[in-house]
């Protein structure tokens, strides 16, 4: 099904190239249809051929090698960001579920936090991080990108987890109260298992956000080595080498796919384990 839709997308692209206007379509002077010429829309096979050729004239590395290593690098940044974001988001949700005051005070700020433009935030995080020296620890540039990824990922996690942790009906909470259960027992034996159906989609959203955050942060904070940077570099060469930038775009898609695969695996194990065997 997936392969079929890929083939279909490629066919659409080529179809448009065949019938679309070479110079693009204009309505009242505004371009509404993209140019179908080879410089703006290279053939699909050219994109794939580009993978096999050298990245720059002087180097012996192929584009494929550059894109794969960039994608892998970005994937690891996104993964670190997702881990941090999930932990922070879940921690905040537990705090908010525990203390109503925290929920009232914090939730609006969490919402506001997501409206901060990332393009502005990313260089800031990079420069703050650069000034950070704690003992032997020195800030790496990739950490800035992970922080941005976490900044995007924690939000769906916090909101989803809070929903889930507050989902048990009053009768279930009263039952725990009737056993004089401490809050910790209620958390582990009732709230977290009940939150599971909410955590799974929240985690999926967080994973997507982490990938998007990573690519954006790499571009705007100038982190080298990742797929975001490659997109930026290849864009500059687009006039002379139009197929090249698409190879990087495919690389970014690969990061997303890899993340989706990982999420699916985590979901499966989590659902199986948590449902059956409880923790604590």
């Amino acid at each position: 099904m997936f392969v079929l839709s890929l083939v279909l997308a490629a066919a659409m692209w080529e179809l448009y190239k065949a019938v679309g206007p070479e110079t693009g379509g204009k309505v009242l002077g505004m371009r509404v249809l993209p140019k179908a010429e080879d410089r703006a829309m290279p053939h699909v096979w050219e994109m794939f051929q580009r993978f096999g050729r050298a990245e720059v004239r002087s180097s012996k590395d192929t584009v494929l090698e550059a894109v794969v290593s960039g994608a892998w690098y970005s994937f690891r940044i996104a993964l670190a960001g997702l881990a941090l974001g999930t932990a922070v988001g879940f921690g905040l949700a537990v705090l908010m579920a525990r203390f109503r005051v925290v929920e009232r005070g914090l939730l609006p700020w969490l919402v506001v936090s997501q409206t901060v433009p990332l393009i502005a935030l990313a260089p800031l995080v990079a420069s703050w991080g650069g000034k950070l020296h704690i003992g032997g620890f020195t800030w790496q540039r990739w950490m800035s990108a992970s922080i941005i990824a976490a900044f995007l990922a924690f939000f769906p996690m916090a909101v989803g987890a809070l929903r889930g942790l507050s989902s048990p009906p009053p009768a279930a909470l009263e039952l725990m109260d009737s056993y004089a259960a401490p809050w910790r027992s209620t958390l582990f034996k009732l709230r977290i298992p009940a939150a599971l159906p909410y955590l799974v989609p929240a985690f999926r959203l967080a994973a997507n956000a982490a990938v998007a955050g990573t690519v954006i942060a790499e571009i705007s904070a100038g982190v080298r080595g990742g797929i975001g940077r490659l997109i930026l570099e290849y864009m500059r060469e687009a006039t002379g080498d139009p197929a090249k930038v698409y190879t990087a775009v495919f690389g970014a898609a690969a990061v997303g796919l890899l993340m989706a695969g990982l999420v699916a695996v985590v979901e499966m194990t989590a659902t199986r384990h948590l449902r059956k065997e409880e923790f604590a």
Partner: protein
């Protein structure tokens, strides 16, 4: 406000299972949405006794149960459970509760549901498991220990909920319309089962219901309540002896049903909201 005497045989033997003295509950006191849910209530339930609470919707039956369970603090008066303040009784696990919805945890098997209160009270695994199996035997669900709640019928789920409430051997069982969501046949079966379980455990029961025959069939005494503000209007002694399926056809049974219905009518003009089943 009706003073209910402890049956003379019980005086001095053991502390009453429940002793409410002027217990009253007002929600949102002093605010525009103030509700006087319960006028001062006096009620004494002897050890092992089953008392039903019956009355129109909103008369405070659930509220009274929550006061006894210490899930709410009374705004006036006092409550003793097994001779202890309600808060201490809750900490000591002196009572178990069952509601209209069985409220089993879907992610736990039947036997792990029964073990839940025992886990919270810190029992070790083998002891918990052994007790859960004992309880399953009591409610006749031995074959379902490792099933999940959604694989059980409503009546079976309710039996698991009762097993869970009784797993730590409380001397008092609080039940809020526990059979209200069951069909008529299952309901009568569950009533008989409850009688048997009571005989086996000796627990006192406070049983909230909307069904007059159910109240009469189960109870040693029926407390008839009326609304606005909630209070106990009358207490009817039921002298039916040991209950069997024949009891339901006993003329004395019908006499008591009529008695309760009339007390309900007296409380608020008509028997509104009551079921005659």
């Amino acid at each position: 406000m009706t003073e209910i005497a402890v049956p003379t045989g019980q005086v001095g033997a053991a502390a009453a299972a429940v002793e409410a003295r002027g217990a009253a509950m007002t929600f949102n006191a002093g605010r525009p949405n103030e509700v006087i849910a319960l006028a001062p209530i006096d009620l004494t339930v002897a050890p092992g006794e089953l008392v039903s609470l019956i009355g129109p919707s909103g008369c405070g039956k659930s509220t009274l149960l929550r006061l006894i369970a210490n899930l709410l603090e009374p705004t006036d008066g006092s409550l003793l459970i097994n001779g202890k303040p309600a808060s201490q009784a809750r900490l000591d696990g002196d009572y178990g509760m069952a509601f209209q919805q069985a409220g089993l945890f879907d992610w736990r098997t039947v036997s792990r549901n029964i073990e839940l209160p025992l886990e919270i009270k810190g029992w070790d695994r083998t002891r918990r498991r052994a007790r859960a199996l004992e309880m399953l035997e009591l409610v006749r669900l031995c074959d379902f220990a490792d099933h999940h709640p959604w694989e059980l019928s409503g009546g079976m789920q309710q039996r698991v909920a009762i097993a869970r409430a009784l797993s730590f051997e409380p001397k008092l069982l609080l039940m809020d319309e526990p059979f209200g969501a069951l069909d008529e046949m299952t309901r009568e079966h569950m009533q008989t089962e409850l009688g048997r379980i009571r005989a086996a455990t000796g627990a006192a029961v406070i049983f909230v219901t909307h069904s007059i025959p159910e109240a009469v069939f189960l109870s040693d005494r029926v407390a008839v309540m009326s609304a606005r503000p909630g209070r106990i209007e009358a207490v009817i002694d039921v002298a039916l002896g040991e209950r069997t399926e024949l009891t339901r056809g006993d003329p004395l049974f019908f006499k008591h049903v009529t008695e309760v219905r009339e007390a309900l009518r007296a409380g608020h003009g008509v028997g509104g909201g009551m079921e005659d089943r």
